[in-house]
Amino acid sequence: MTDTLLFKDIDEPGLNTLAVYEARGGYESLRKALRMTPEEVLSELEASGIRGRGGAGFAMGKKVSFLPHGSIDKYLVCNADESEPGTFKDRELMQKTPHMLIEGLIVASYAAGATRSFIYIRGEYVQQADILEAALIEARGAGYIGERILGSEHSLSLVVHRGAGAYICGEETGLLDSLEGKRGNPRLKPPFPANQGLYQGPTLINNVETLATVPAIIRMSGAEYARIGTETSTGTKLVSVSGHVQRPGNYEIELGIPSRELIYDLAGGPPAGRSVKCWFPGGSSAPVLTAEDLDVPYDFDSLAKAGSMLGSGAIIVVDDSTPILDVALKTAKFYRHESCGKCTPCREGTNWTVHMLERIDRGEATPMDLEIMASVQDHIIGHCLCVLGDAMAMPIGSMIAKFRDEFESHIESRRLSALTPEPGPITAGATA
């Protein structure tokens, strides 16, 4: 295993302050980057092969290169609306090493030619936003943020913007609408944010972890960074492991290690006597995998090949003591609550999926309901402006496919137990 890049000395007292961060080499990457041209910085990012750490896994260098050239106002937005169930890696980064994020953000803005930047942080992260704001004041005082940074031609403003509790604002165009002071409804794409984003201007949007990795890439060079991990999943990744494991938490891994190593060796596996029933490899939006998939390498392409996705890098482990129906119901209710309501397939699909799962729970369902429920998922996928509906349909669809027997026996046992031993009066509607 290579060195940790993001978690090195993360618990050092005072690392959130400028003095301690600088004492261990902080902002050296920024100085190095400002001695290079923006094009050179961009080619380092492209050479690193780093893929976005927020969920979609799109190559960061390519994303930066999509921004138009020229002197128009360009924006950089850091997506710190970490709301994907099971994900808490950005929280630990922002809380303990906020300057690493700010440094990476300045370097990325230099490569992209952006002069205004925003960190959109979810409103629930009160302490982390306070820490970021304190770090921002220090960075501004030291001349890292503002006009002509460190004597260069590059200028950048930065605002920490707090959300107020809406999962959909983690979707990039929903985030932009929210940042413009509206409801966080996703927009129709294209145009993509690189062309028309915030205030209709070209906008680069990156996740916290992606930006926080930039100083390491500049320090060690893109080519060197690309030697970590696998060919198509380069670098290290923070993985949040939670649910039925003995040591839940964030772990920095080299991409491509076996998932079993992560779940068992690092996180301690399920409690004694229990076994893994299923696991979400990339947040609750990822199709579930089972115990048979534990040896799948933890990287973007291997997980995609296994029928799921790396997503935000959040593993939720469910052990064999939990009925799959409970997991499905929790998942579906979450997406119903968070659907913005703009597109019918998502708004209605999430609602009816919850209703059908509750019918199963109440013993009112028949095996046919499983078919209907599966077809509802198929009708959501690909039919909305954003992927929130898909994000429910994919895990629910995978649960129905992989645990059909359990759903069926659940339907039958609940149906039988709903037939109460004392026969009620025969009502008019019950005549055949």
Partner: protein
Amino acid sequence: MSQPATGIRGWDVPADLDKDPATIPDPARTPVPDALRQEIEAHMALYPDRRSAALPALEAAQRVHGWCSPEAIDQVACVMQITPAELDAIATFYDMLENEPVGQHSVYVCTNISCSLCGADELYAAIRDAAGDDPAFNVRAFECLGACDIAPMASVDGVYIGPLAPGDVPQLLDDIRAGRPVLADKQLARRACADPKAAQ
């Protein structure tokens, strides 16, 4: 848990169609506390488009009024010079903006997947029962708060605390009532990184 009725005007509660839509409030007839006005204006100055300050402005008004009351909305609308309806649309969209009067101390209990696997539903029930109808508390079940490493957990006035057991609930509420740091040794801020490589 079924979705609670939100009392949203025009949705759960019929809109009054006989009334004309409210226009931008007249500054001469809309008193706004000075501190609130200054805070909203400071937010507006940060953005190329002043409308971007809507969320921070509503949060500030909620801090003053306790919830996004019609009066609070009018005051924000007056300072920002936009219609109350635009702010209403925002206030009803975001979970942390309250559309009814609530208790002063927010206790958000995460009941999402990871926390519920670790007993969050029982925890939420225990906190609800113990808080009863004490008007000081605003106990809510919340979607994933991004702290599954301390599941099951709660956010008390923005401070993350966990892992919590139903047995912790009496002290949790006592600490809030007394204005003490809540369950100080269980606060997330004191927790070290789980990754053993980080401690080297």
